[in-house]
Amino acid sequence: MSGSMTIGPDRWLAATLLVFLLAGCGTKQVLVQSEFPPPVMNKLPLTIGVWYDEEFANHEFFDEAAGRAETSWLVNTGQAQVQLWDTLLKGMFRDVVYMNGKPGPGQMNPVVDAVLLPAVDELQYAIPAHTNVKVYEIWMRYRLQLVTTGGAPIADWTMPAYGKTPTAFMQSDEGAVRLAAIVALRDAGAHFASTFTSIPDVAQWLASLPRAGDAARRRVQP
């Protein structure tokens, strides 16, 4: 037995309208992906270890809609975070080594001068519908820890990063938030690269290094 079903134009129209209505109710998802340029700077003569914990490597931000008129947002930055910090650290230090596990007593890890543990403490976003300003904004606060391979703290500090992008013709909210997040990530890299050696505890640690301290101080940017 064979047969065919014909759907009339009125049903197509109704289905199309339903799709548009439902589209307004869903969560807006943004997957941030980008290539980041390596930093152009004199490398510090250090072997730095890096450990990305699960939360950082899969970092996502979810903002649930407060009312029916609003939309929920899910911004996934984990992949881009790892991409940025990999590129940044390889451009800043002589050697970068990935740790086998989170540094701590009893944890077997390669020998390095110090291990950096980046984490995203907080992420906020703003879109023109919230602020009446024609820019999309992303603000992040990082918590950065520099520790020994045994897990002893060397330095612990927070670092803000900010990115914004203007509204543009035919640009979706998701596209604009993605661009703002990329600008914020670039800003994070710029902030870290330009201030790392002047963090008081880091400067003190660099000065205490017997073999690399003097060279590092000579080569840091002003």
Binding site: M41, K134, V135, A190
Partner: protein, 220 residues
């Protein structure tokens, strides 16, 4: 009116543009008499303000305006330049005064990148185009017999940009150009909306581009 005339009218109407008023102020300290030769120029947007952002497409427009009218002038793309010198020209780290360039050149690789690009002039553009004073209303409907709109809308756009020219070799500011442009756009709708747009940003781009050409080009 015949169908043919209606079709001709429909084709011509989108080509309508509204008027734009534009003013340019120029303050130049030291113009290169014979142009910039083989050197290149980079045009960058200032992005420090919290409530607006110099549009990347405006920066591209000015760059295209210059390179299309004088093909001997090499214009380095903004993103290409920012990537090649990351992280020193991000909003957080960008030099605010020509003297700050000296500090950047202490980095061996930064100095090498500048030499490779042969950048003679760095032009910073700061400003934006904003929409003001919207008025009117328009209603659109869709039914089994078709769709259409009826109403009238109008709005004004204001563009305000300032370009600051730095001579990279002298580490000095050598010129400053500012332009303002404003225009009123209209959108009447009788079944079909007919946009009569004032090309405010485009006019500002042409104005600032022409002035920069007078500065940079030996032919203008």
């Amino acid at each position: 009116m015949s169908l043919q005339r209606l079709a001709i009218a429909a084709c011509l109407l989108p080509g309508l543009v509204a008027c734009v008023n534009s003013t340019v102020d120029q303050m130049v300290f030291n113009t290169p008499g014979a142009g910039i030769g083989d050197a290149s120029v980079v045009i960058l947007g200032r992005r420090h303000a919290s409530d607006y952002e110099t549009e990347p497409e405006f920066i591209r427009c000015v760059g295209n305006h210059i390179s299309s009218r004088d093909k001997s002038i090499g214009v380095v793309g903004e993103q290409e330049f920012l990537d090649a010198l990351y992280p020193w020209f991000e909003p957080r780290t960008a030099p605010l005064r020509p003297a700050d360039l000296e500090r950047l050149l202490e980095h061996r690789d930064v100095a090498r990148a500048f030499t490779t690009m042969q950048t003679r002039y760095m032009i910073w553009i700061d400003g934006s185009t904003v929409r003001n004073d919207s008025a009117g209303s328009m209603t659109c409907g869709i039914g089994p017999g078709g769709a259409g709109c009826f109403g009238f809308g109008t709005w004004s756009n204001d563009a305000n940009y300032e370009a600051t020219i730095w001579d990279f070799s002298k580490r000095a500011e050598v010129g400053r150009i500012s332009t303002t442009a404003s225009g009123q756009s209209y959108m009447p709708a009788v079944v079909v909306p007919i946009p009569i747009i004032a090309p405010v940003q485009g006019t500002a781009c042409d104005s600032i581009g022409d002035q920069l050409l007078e500065f940079l080009s030996a032919e203008y």
